[in-house]
Structure formats: C-alpha cells, structure tokens
Amino acid sequence: MDRELQGTITLPEEGRTLASGEQEFVLDVRTQDMELNMGPQHPATHGVMRILVRTDGELVTGAQPHLGYLHRCAEKIGENVEWLQYLPYTDRYDYLAAMNNNIGYSMAVEAVMGIEIPRRAEMLRVICAELNRIGSHLIAFGTYGLDLGAITPFLYAFREREWMMSLFEKICGARLTYSYIRIGGVFNDAPPGWLGEVSRFCDTFEVKWREYYDLLIENQIFVGRTADVGVIPRDMALDFGLTGPMLRGSGVDFDLRRDMPYSLYEEIHDAGAFKIPVGTGEKGTLGDCWDRVWVRVVEMMESVGIVRWCLENIEPGPVIGDIPKTLRVPAGEAYVGIENPRGELGHYVVSDGDKVATRCRVRGPSFCNLAVVEEILSGTLLGDSVAIIGSTDVVIGETDR
C-alpha cells in the first residue's frame, strides 16, 4: 500500500454526535456501513414491520421503515360490506384498543346519520373506552419494558390487563375484538354486578400502578436507557402530525377528550375527573422516550379517574337507540376524530344513501406516529433504536390496516 494512504483518514461525516450530545466519534479508520434488516420477524418491531437500518458499528446512520406486511385491505372491505358489518373489521386494525375503534367508527356513522344515543350507552362507552385505554397503555408499558430487557413488568402489566379483558368478556363475550359498541348505542347492558367489579378493578389497579412506577419508570437503568433518547422537539411533533401520548410527550398540551370534547368528556372534565399529563422533560430533554412512556403511565391513572366518575354517575336507562336492522345512512360525509390510546383515530365516512359505504377511511394514529421514526432513528445507537421504536407504541395492524 502506498505510504500516502496509510495513517489517519478522516471521513467527511466526522464528529457525529449522539442524541445526548455528549460523546463525539471521530473516525480515523475507513469503515463500511452495514445494512441490517430489522424485521419483519424481529422481537422489537412489535409485529411485522421491517426497518432497514444502516449501521456503522453500533451507530445507526439511517433507517427506512417498510410497511405493508399486515395490509388487510380494511378500507376496501369497508366499501363492500354493510355499515354494521364493517364494525368487526374496525376491531382489527388497532387490536389493542378495539373498543375505541368501535366508538370511532360508530360515532362517524352516527355523525352522518345525525342521531343521538342514550345517556347510559354513552356512559358504558366511556367506561369501556377508558378501560381499554388502560389495557392498551399496559401493553405499551409492558412491551416497552420488554424492549429494554425488563421482562417482569410485562408480566405484571398482563396480569392487570387479564382482569380488564375478563371484564370485557363478561360484558360482551370477547377478549380482544369486542364489537361491543354498536351504531346507535352499545350492544347490550352491563350484566348485574359488572359495574361493581369495575370499581374493584380500579381500586386494585391504583395499588398496582404504584408498583409499575417504582419497578420500571423510576428505575435508574430505565431512566438511563430512555432519557435524552429519541428526542422529538415540539415543532417536529406538530410537523409530523403526531397525536396522543407522542404529542403530549413532546410538551404539547393537547388531548381531544378535553380540547375537542365528544361523548361525555366535556362533562367529565368539568367535574374535574381527569387531567391531561404533559411531558416536562423531568429526567432529560423534553420529548424524549422517558416523557412519552411517563405520559402513558400517568394517563392510566387519569383513565381510572374517568371510570370512577362514570361509575358514580351512571343511571339506568336504555342502551341502544331505535336503530333498524339494516342501516341506511343518508347521503353525506363526516370526519370524526377521537382520542385513541395512541392518538387521534379519525374515521372519514362517505355515504351515498346506500346500504354500503362509499368510502371508509381510517386515519390510524400509529401510521402517523411511525413516520417520525425515520427521522429520529439516525444518529442513535442500535440499542436506542429499539427504545425509540418501542416508545412510539405502534400497532402494526393499524399502520398497515
């Protein structure tokens, strides 16, 4: 080899900084970037997402998500089945929050039909939605621990989620894909004793929640893994259209339940039953992974507050309005966004007065939240990339629909 080529060679991209901005790597050898295929079968991609990662040693220099492995043509199906028949399909895009999806779709159709639903049905909807939010956040929290190597919190989270699912099993008969909320109300009334069990669940959950917080969220290793990692500044969060805990983790105080209230949430908020947790950058930078996870974990307790309020104020009454068996929706269109555990779940429904929808668009929050990953992954370590993907809490069923 020539003498001139020996010695120190400095690459043009020298002095790249980590997200924390502390360590600098100055490369003095010529290395080759490696293309690493994370997924579709990879433990950290939460389903069948594939991320093509370009790495330089442990450093990720570029990432490109590839979607579509779970594409099931949900929107096309929506244009081919009757209004009510589409309801079970809504369970399946965000399968961790099927109740919220049912509510979103039902509300969109109700908005076109212009009908009001009975108050007890609204109450039951809110209870189910918030219980499901707790369950979904439990998964988010548990699998995030799993991504970071803590397996036990995951099992603890599943223990409480199991109770939540058995509550749903009692009210609607299914454990994951509920199809409980119907257009015009809910399918059937709560069985006797169910509301009391929900109340007991809330009591127990408050005790267990403290344990999650101490076991994982406050743990120094967890803080070290998540603080200052994957920082999404406020402007970037808005630009990418992030919603839900991702947006609140970046310090934007916005929640559809409070700010554009639907269902009974305005009343519940006025009664002071819940607050909206917003990330503050307590352990690191504002908008890092820790803030996002913290927002989710605190939101679970706020949901408990909402459920408590509903249990106190629920009154007997009908649970479903006068809805014909074969729905005919008047011509028109509506977009209804509700607060899913992952963000704004929008349903854009177009009807031409037929038994079948003209367009049944789903705006999945995971789809939009995942888009930001492409941007923030580069410049992190391989271990961080897992932490960042986990903190977006995507459900691949929803990104691909």
Binding site: L67, G68, H71, C73, E75, K76, E79, A111, V112, M113, G114, L238, D239, F240, G241, T243, L247, V252, F254, D259, M260, V329, P330, A331, G332, E333, A334, Y335, G337, E344, G346, Y348, V349, V350, S351, D352, T358, R359, R361, R363, F367, C368, L370, A371, E375, D400, R401
Partner: protein
C-alpha cells in the same frame, strides 16, 4: 373558531384556491324537504393550489392549523369522472378543525404535494398515490407504502379489477 369563522377568515385573507363551502342540511329533523346532504361541513379548494392554501392555513395567526390530521382521496363512484382529495387540518392552539376537499379529474389526477408544508403528508400521500393513482408533484419519496412495489392498479378506485393471481399465487 367554528366553521363559519374559519371560512370567513379564509375569505378575508384571500386564501389561494379557496372555492367555497359545502354545508350539510340543518340538523333539525322537523324541517322537512331539506334535500341537502348529511354530515359535516367542508371547504372546497382548487387542488392545483392546495399547497399554497395549506401554507395560509398553517401560518395565519387566526387559523394556525399546526397538524395535518388526515390526507386521503376518495373515489365517489365508478362513473364519476372526478376524484376527491381530502385534507383534514387540526389546530392545537385554537382547537378547531377544518375539512378540505378538492375535486380532481380522473383523467389527469395530478396535484402539488403538501410535504413541503406538513411532513405528515409524506406517508399519507404515498398511500393515496398507490391506492387511487393520484400523482403528487414534488413528493420526495414516491414509492408504494402499503402495497408491493410491483402492484398493478389502484385498489381503492371503484373501477379496480381484482387480480386473478399474484406472482403465481391464486387470489381466487
């Protein structure tokens, strides 16, 4: 701000491409004979100037739509010669929404990309492009997102014919 206020403001600032509003019939069921459509109101915008319209929506201090909540397209009917392009904006600071619709001819479904205004549009536009055959001018990464790269046809068009097979796998 309610819908009326937003449209007034849009008229006042002279938003480029603002064509008008489409409002549904009244919610009061007693009023018979109202033949209008049901649902939510939206504004009609010329799709060719949608990017400049969105800039106004985003930057105007009274409007301040920071978030592009949704971007999609709609094929109203197989015999309709137009596609709809739908945008849904959300304002975090003023807590209001705006639904936008543009009418785009199926013969030349091309319109400017909104990625320069909202980066949230990037994936939504890729999806709308592959599903409806809409071309977004100036999109930085116009690949398929949910469908395979070699997919033929635009599945959410009403005149889409289901393929008989895909790479030798029967779809029947």
């Amino acid at each position: 701000m309610d819908f009326q206020g937003i449209t007034d403001r849009l008229t006042a600032v002279g938003a480029p491409g603002f064509l008008g509003v489409d409002e549904p019939r009244g919610k009061d069921p007693e009023v018979k004979g109202d033949k209008g459509r049901a649902g939510d109101p939206f504004v009609l915008v010329d799709p060719q100037s949608i990017d400049r319209f969105l800039v106004v929506c985003r930057d105007d201090p009274k409007l301040r739509f920071e978030i592009l909540a949704d971007l999609t397209a709609t094929d109203p009917a197989a015999d309709d010669e137009n596609l709809w392009v739908n945008y849904n904006l959300l304002s975090v600071s003023h807590r209001h929404r705006l639904a936008i619709k543009g009418i785009l001819p199926k013969s030349e479904p091309t319109l400017p990309s909104a990625v320069a205004v909202y980066r949230a549009a990037q994936w939504h536009e890729r999806e709308a492009a592959e599903m409806f055959g809409v071309t977004y001018r100036g999109h930085p990464d116009p690949r398929n997102i949910l469908l395979p790269d070699d997919w033929v046809g635009h599945p959410l068009r009403k005149d889409y014919e289901f393929p008989k097979e895909y790479h030798g796998i029967s779809c029947e």
